[in-house]
Symmetry: D2
Subunit: 112 residues, 4 copies
Amino acid sequence: MDEVIERIRRFRDERDWKQFHDPKSLAVSIAIEAAELLEEFQWKTAEESRQHAIDKREAVSDEIADVAIYLIELADVTGIDLEAAILSKLEKNARKYPVEKSRGKSAKYNEL
Amino acid sequence: MDEVIERIRRFRDERDWKQFHDPKSLAVSIAIEAAELLEEFQWKTAEESRQHAIDKREAVSDEIADVAIYLIELADVTGIDLEAAILSKLEKNARKYPVEKSRGKSAKYNEL
Amino acid sequence: MDEVIERIRRFRDERDWKQFHDPKSLAVSIAIEAAELLEEFQWKTAEESRQHAIDKREAVSDEIADVAIYLIELADVTGIDLEAAILSKLEKNARKYPVEKSRGKSAKYNEL
Amino acid sequence: MDEVIERIRRFRDERDWKQFHDPKSLAVSIAIEAAELLEEFQWKTAEESRQHAIDKREAVSDEIADVAIYLIELADVTGIDLEAAILSKLEKNARKYPVEKSRGKSAKYNEL
């Protein structure tokens, strides 16, 4: 992951793009890319989306990467350690969704 | 990163939630969480968003993590290696935005 | 519709909120509200979403309204006539999706 | 507005597309189109977004219309009267944001 972050920084800094990377602009970009990722599965059922991810693997992979790149850039400019942020949030989620009450219930998710 | 992915899988599997994690449902969830992250900066200028990320560090960190967790779960169920996907997309972006033509120009981004 | 627009303007102007309503801030707000509307149907199948719209009619109605209010405000501040914009776009869509080629095919939609 | 709704219905029914228009699919489409509208203003300041809405009036108008069309279709299939929904939500918002406490304060918006 460290190497990935380093490559993203280099890509950004070679183009002098850090000046545009305030948190709001990055959050806007994450939302835009998340919608492009979602567009891959528009009008599809859950089952069809599984097949689509196989048939259009490269397109799906690229859209996932677009979200990830902006997300890593946002963590970077705000000085947030992405892996630590994930582990911390998983602990909160574990308290919010105890195993015994959440098992097999997607409805619980609605309160996330 | 491997440990983080492992922890996310364990969290999901302890709750038997993989059954809900088709690609479309995860893409929908990524878009929803991306909007919640954006909401942190709603009505703020770029400058104010920098300060907000400092003042509300934990909230911003949690929202970033929510997007990241679903994104990692989507990569996981589709068998996409997230780091490889990012590196591959960075190479495409480098061809699309040559350093000499892109330096200091945010406008270029609009075509991403 | 004219009365609705007039009421939205009055609500906004009584609070002196027009100063915050530049097009970008409104577009950000539309995206955030659209995600909250989508959240109503997160983890649901198409069929379940039909039932949910019946069971949670008021919540769904409120979320639809939130998107609509910001959308009308955006049309208002940019001097765009919303009804004319819709009719003009329908004509473009009709050329893009001729009846004979589009009938019963959701796939066509993917190119919208 | 009635004529607009009628035209949207005719466009949809000539193509036999109502079968794809469950509430969730329409909410997904609204979110996707909202992000395309937001993309018009990506990397722009509030001030630049005002000028952009003038310079790219047709593109902005088309993106607004795309969101509006799906929103009207969602109201239509769920039997929600869009204008009544807006008026009802404005009344709730008026109670939530009393004039005397909200005047000139965008921060209030964050709780919407």
